[in-house]
Amino acid sequence: MKDRDIPVLPRGVRVHFDRVREKWVLLAPERAVTLDDVGHAILNEVDGTRSFGEITRMLAAKYDAPADQIAKDSAGFLGALRDRRFLDVTP
């Protein structure tokens, strides 16, 4: 995931609040992935216009955490979603 890459959730993939289990989940074809707080925070910033760099800098500021650590974690998380075709990335 490069700084300028713009991640976006494609059609058919959406963040959903599971009111029965009281958890955030990512719904995708044939899959429901439980999101932890970090995953949910990252996906909250994914809006199809912000770049990966902007997203990680925002998160670093918001959570007062080192930017390179946030970038590393986010790249791992988003990269795994991309491999499963739950996330599109436009360079």
């Binding site: 059609r11 029965v20 044939e30 991309r82 491999d83 075709r85």
Partner: protein, 371 residues
Amino acid sequence: MSTVAPPIAMLAELTHRCPLSCPYCSNPVELARQNSELDTATWSDVFRQAADLGVLQLHLSGGEPASRRDLVDLVRAAREAGLYTNLITSGIGLTEKRLRELDAVGLDHVQLSLQGTDATMADEIGGYRGGFARKMQVAEWIKEIGFPLTLNAVLHRRNLHQLPRALEMAEEMGARRIEVATVQFHGWALKNRDALMPTREQAKKATQIVAEARARLKGRLVIDYVPADYHEDFPKRCMGGWGTTGLNVVPDGTVLPCHAAQTIPHLRFDRVQDRSLAEIWQTNMAFDAYRGTEWMADPCRSCDRKTVDFGGCRCQAMAIVGDAGATDPVCVKSPHHGALQTQADQHAAQADAHLTYRKMPAKIAAEPVEM
């Protein structure tokens, strides 16, 4: 009552009607007639109950769900209930207009079945001339509208050589996912083992092709693979555990732990007309019968894979060993494993076996209405 964790997925078999008659259909051999099907309002209520119970994913299936005239209303009801809604279809019965209506009411995903990669194969297997051409047209509309698509290629001895082309077709159709599903021998397929059982070599080759394709298409096409299990050494994981992740509602409202559960004679089922879905999930004896690991005998009971595959398939143990509580005979630890492997090779050697197509029961004029 609240000790049972809620289900994640529900399969709604809206109808058993279907224009195709695939010889491996997973519907029961006793197909439900149209006049026993739940109406729109009852299904809509079942969807709301499912969402309240904790179901996130709804699969609308059949038969052919497009054979229901109220399909658009059903999808609307499912989306209003907050469910992620997937349509499992052969494409036959979907017009461009209907697809656009489904789009407008919020259908999330389409899973399109593939009987073969050309008209000759597909129309022979589906038993429906012109079906392939129609399906290709439907695939184009799906792409135009932009529905997320999974192609579901059902493979067996007759068409396993078409797997490479099926993978190409998935890409051409813009599918994000393909299910490469070797026929599982339940329902009608059990009658067609001589005609459909892959050879051991075919099964191996398919596994190889899938592994190569996964590496080559990483990030482009996700491949879910169901291998030919009579030739395997470990059984398939039973859904996500019997009575643990999913439930099925069949056309007449009967609620099942799995689509083939009615082949297990001692199980008693409930219907959505009689009890709430939550009550059925939590207390129906059929769900309880094989939930968790308590019911297991050895070798499963003392096996470290028991929460991996849950002892394999109950319905397969029933069909082959005659005991739904036995270890799935596919497993190397089952005393029946060797016999099953021999049997698989024998089925696979029946080169000129005929296909037995699925068919509806003959219409009886004055059918007693049972309420």
